[in-house]
């Protein structure tokens, strides 16, 4: 008995507590306002336009290889799916262009930062107007024959 109680007095070697940081520290989606969402859209449309330009430069460069190959490739684009794709492309470019002007104004116009929210809705308004003018014509081209 005494031996046992004596051994109890000696602190048992404790393993140090494991401390580690989480693998996924992010939580809920940050609820930013117009500024953040315009940036998200600007980035998405920018990357999409980049990939379009990559393909576009390749197919245009084909004309140097042989005009027949170029014509063959361009003819494969004349489908309704590509027609709808062109609507998406124009929508992306128009937003990117208009929002790009907004960003330039934020950076270089003294009152740009103050009016960024108004300018965002102006961008959206112009975007809708321009697309409303383009989409019916494009649909007529694609499906009108």
């Amino acid at each position: 008995m005494p031996e046992k109680s004596a051994s109890n007095l000696v602190a048992e070697p404790q393993s140090p507590p494991k401390i580690r940081s989480p693998k996924r520290p992010a939580g809920t989606l940050y609820r930013g306002k117009e500024g953040m969402w315009s940036w998200v859209l600007h980035r998405i449309t920018g990357v999409a336009i980049y990939f379009f330009l990559l393909v576009h430069i390749l197919d245009t460069a084909l004309v140097r290889v042989s005009p027949e190959a170029y014509n063959a490739v361009i003819n494969t684009y004349k489908t309704p799916i590509m027609g709808l794709g062109e609507i998406a492309l124009v929508a992306a470019i128009v937003f990117h262009a208009l929002n790009g002007l907004r960003i330039i104004l934020i950076d270089f116009w003294a009152f740009g930062a103050k009016h960024q929210r108004t300018m965002f809705w102006v961008v959206i308004g112009l975007w809708v107007v321009l697309l409303a003018a383009f989409i019916p014509r494009q649909l007529m081209h694609v499906f009108g024959g």
Partner: protein, 252 residues
């Protein structure tokens, strides 16, 4: 006389109405948890209570292990910046009645800095970038007289950025900072702005050089999350834009 005294007795104290709010808190105990987890608490609150009061009630009455920072509790020390319903706010300046209490109130640590425990993050990377911009007056000996004089107009030039309390609400609301922890972040730029545009300071060139770095002001993508998050109402994105202009012009 005695009746008059009896008449003056105040009516029975009105019962201050309370309501129940649910708080969803993102907990993380580094000794036990692999990943953070959400835990909900029901708290009885008054109309005048803030999110910080709700956290106190939880810590004092329900679960003493809830960990968060707070010092002054009045929006000056900048200790209790946290993400409340998905937006960076000071817990001591956010009234519960301004939130939608029909749904749970989501409270979690600020994003982009290493999570240490519950609502506490490691602020060192944040303070490191603050220190890098030389946040102190850089000036040689006073020329003539004993004082560094400044007109009210000159003082007003950088008034907005003197209000910073270094709570990190802006820096940890910045999407660029989340993905690139090397970016100086809005708070460091705001504090550089405070001295760059101070007429008494002579170190503007040094600071503009530091912020002209790849990880400096040019990383700003003008998402305005910082301006929206700032509990002091500093026009953060405006200040960053002014620093950008100063770099282009080569002088404040």
């Amino acid at each position: 006389m005695s009746t008059a005294v009896a008449d003056n007795k105040p009516a029975a104290a009105e019962v201050v109405p309370t309501f129940t709010a649910t708080l969803m808190i993102r907990r993380f105990n580094p000794e036990v948890d692999e990943e953070p987890r959400w835990e909900d608490f029901d708290v009885e609150l008054y109309e005048t209570d803030r999110v910080l009061d709700a956290l106190h009630k939880i810590k004092w009455e329900q679960d003493g292990s809830l960990t968060f920072r707070r010092s002054c509790a009045h929006g000056i020390c900048g200790s209790d910046a946290m993400r409340i319903n998905g937006r960076n706010r000071l817990a001591c300046k956010t009234l519960i009645k301004d939130l939608d209490i029909s749904k749970p109130i989501y409270v979690e640590a600020i994003k982009g800095l290493p999570l240490e425990k519950d609502l506490i993050v490691d602020m060192e990377p944040f303070f490191d970038s603050f220190k890098e911009v030389n946040p102190f007056l850089m000036a040689g000996p006073v020329k003539g007289g004993k004082e560094r004089k400044q007109s009210p107009v000159e003082r007003a030039r950088f008034d907005d950025t003197t209000k910073c309390i270094l709570c990190a609400a802006c820096t940890s609301s910045c999407p660029v900072f989340w993905t690139d922890g090397q970016y100086f972040g809005p708070a460091a730029i705001v504090n550089a702005h405070r001295f760059i545009f101070d007429s008494r300071d002579e170190g503007a060139g040094v600071r503009l050089d530091i912020l002209n770095d790849k990880e400096g002001v040019w990383r700003c993508r003008t998402t305005f999350n910082c301006t929206d998050a700032c509990p002091r109402g500093i026009q953060v994105t405006q200040a960053i834009a002014e620093v950008k202009q100063a770099i282009i012009k080569g002088k404040p």
